[in-house]
């Protein structure tokens, strides 16, 4: 099976000149798959972390503490209005060099956080800032009487948020959340700039060694089209599974 695919692409190259090295050269294929795996790691971890940041931020933003509210507001405003690429550079170069180094087992100096971890941190904060706003709009859509009913039943503020407000708010803000998470998946390409070996990075390496820019560009476009498509499909399934009976059609 694999051998026939490889042979077919090899033959395609010999007959038409379309050089899809990834599909017949095992070395390029391994690099491509490693890049894809890194993109998935970045995508999944940042999506989960940004959801947590969004939920916690929205809880704090509606909380009684004035200082915490101001802090969350400042965080949201700053991260929404500055370029994600500059944020990544600021975190990786700016803060990364200020943190103390650690010694590895063989006595070498290594930074505490490597580029992959910094990319995950800064991308999560970036998307998390948007998620705070999205969750906030969802929480505002939850009728106040519902919260009061929960309080009358003896829920504490946190428990009411966790079991009553958040599940309802999540369903209200799912469409906006979908958009933001898809945007986040697309923004993971920026990790390329600090040499995180994700798909774009791997594909760039392949095309600069094999001189097949056009073919690899097509592979790249197809890869992201499929990745975004899969995420859209998952989110739509989730949206349907979470649907509140009696709302919408």
């Amino acid at each position: 099976m694999i051998a026939t695919i490889q042979a077919w692409f090899q033959q395609l190259y010999e007959t038409t000149g379309f050089n899809f090295t990834v599909f017949y050269d095992p070395y390029d294929w391994d690099r491509y798959v490693a890049g894809l795996r890194m993109t998935l790691l970045l995508g999944i971890s940042t999506i989960l972390a940004s959801l947590v940041i969004g939920a916690v931020g929205a809880l704090l933003q509606s909380g009684p503490s004035r200082v915490l509210r101001a802090l969350v507001n400042g965080f949201v405003v700053v991260f929404r209005n500055t370029p994600p690429l500059v944020q990544i550079f600021f975190f990786y170069f700016g803060l990364g060099t200020l943190l103390p180094d650690i010694r590895t087992a063989d006595g070498l100096r290594a930074p505490i956080l490597n580029n992959v971890q910094w990319a995950i941190i800064s991308l999560s904060l970036f998307a998390g800032a948007f998620n705070v706003e999205i969750f906030r709009s969802g929480i505002e859509a939850v009728p106040r009487t519902t919260v009061e009913a929960a309080e009358a039943l003896g829920y504490t503020r946190f428990k009411a948020y966790r079991y009553v407000v958040l599940p309802l708010a999540l369903r209200v803000c799912l469409p906006a959340l979908n958009n933001n998470l898809i945007n986040l998946l697309k923004t993971t390409t920026l990790a390329y700039a600090i040499a995180v070996p994700e798909t774009l990075y791997a594909v760039k390496q392949i095309w600069s060694e094999s001189q097949n820019v056009l073919e690899m560009m097509l592979v790249l476009l197809a890869t992201y089209a499929v990745l975004v498509g899969v995420l859209v499909w998952i989110m739509h399934r989730w949206e349907r599974a979470l649907r509140i009976p009696g709302y919408g059609r």
Binding site: N73, L85, R144
Partner: protein, 283 residues
């Protein structure tokens, strides 16, 4: 008696027993005087730390001030790229959006496919696409027109703008009530006249806030041009850092300065967009 906060959760004070109070509407995230105090506090802590840079090497603050004119030129270039990309993308996007709404079968399908592709592919990938696959010069009627890389980058940024604007146009036209179309038809307007004289003028108001959001996004995305080798603010920042001896403690202030520039540019746009949205809100 002081009206207690019904959410206060004070033991014994059941929410149902409290007097009715209108729910306070929490405003969206924005800067308040409290943030100024926070920033002032940060500055008080940070500035003395910077000033200890020593006599031989300039302190980070002095470095930023010394190179600010150059960096601001770079920032102006970013703004110029974003404005041009927005202009091109808007014109193309309106065309694409109208094509999606056109009658017929083939044209709307094609326009829809183009919109989906350019919306769903990462902007950086589109930028790479344009930078690598568009030649560095083109020949029109025997005249060689050179295409410097910043022109190609502008073109690369206008592609996602085009797709997003097309979606905005389509959404706005769809949101106009059908009765408007029917009324225009009964007044013997042709389809084109209806579109340009009745529907689109009504849409302009609805399209303005999302259009400004797209502008804010593209203004922030222009720094990605540095990845493909266009000399703009981030490239200059890296060069300034190298020129100052590549000291690691300079990274944070220099990139912080870039963050500040973009923040001061994008935050007013964001507030203005929110104000417009509130104003145009149809209830």
């Amino acid at each position: 008696m002081k009206a207690a906060d019904p959410r206060g959760g004070r033991p014994g004070a059941l929410p149902v027993l409290l007097p009715f109070a209108l729910p306070e509407n929490r405003a969206a995230a924005r800067l308040r005087p409290a943030h100024l105090w926070l920033l002032a506090g940060l500055a008080l802590v940070a500035v003395p730390a910077w000033a200890q840079g020593g006599a031989a090497a300039l302190s980070p603050l002095e470095v930023v001030i010394k190179w600010a004119p150059l960096l601001l030129t770079g920032f102006a270039f970013n703004v110029a790229i974003s404005l041009m990309a927005m202009a091109i993308g808007t014109v193309a996007g309106i065309g694409l959006g109208l094509a999606m709404l056109a009658e017929g079968r083939v044209l709307p399908r094609l326009a829809w496919c183009a919109t989906q592709v350019f919306r769903n592919v990462p902007w950086l990938v589109l930028l790479f696409f344009v930078m690598f696959l568009v030649p560095f010069q083109i020949t029109v009627f025997g005249i060689r027109v050179p295409l410097p890389d910043w022109v190609k980058a502008t073109f690369g940024f206008s592609l996602p703008v085009m797709a997003n604007v097309a979606e905005i146009v389509r959404g706005a036209v769809r949101s106009v009530p059908n009765t408007q179309w029917e009324a225009a038809e009964s007044l013997a307007f042709t389809r084109r006249q209806t579109m340009w004289r009745i529907i689109l003028p009504q849409c302009a108001k609805r399209m303005l806030p999302p259009w400004m959001n797209v502008y804010s996004l593209i203004a922030m995305a222009t720094v990605q041009a540095s990845i493909v080798g266009v000399t703009e603010m981030l490239t200059l920042t890296a060069q300034v850092h190298a020129a100052e001896g590549g000291r690691p403690e300079l990274f944070a202030p220099l990139y912080g300065f870039a963050l500040l520039c973009f923040f001061l540019y994008c935050y007013p746009i964001d507030r203005f967009t929110a104000a417009l949205e509130r104003r145009f809100e149809t209830r």
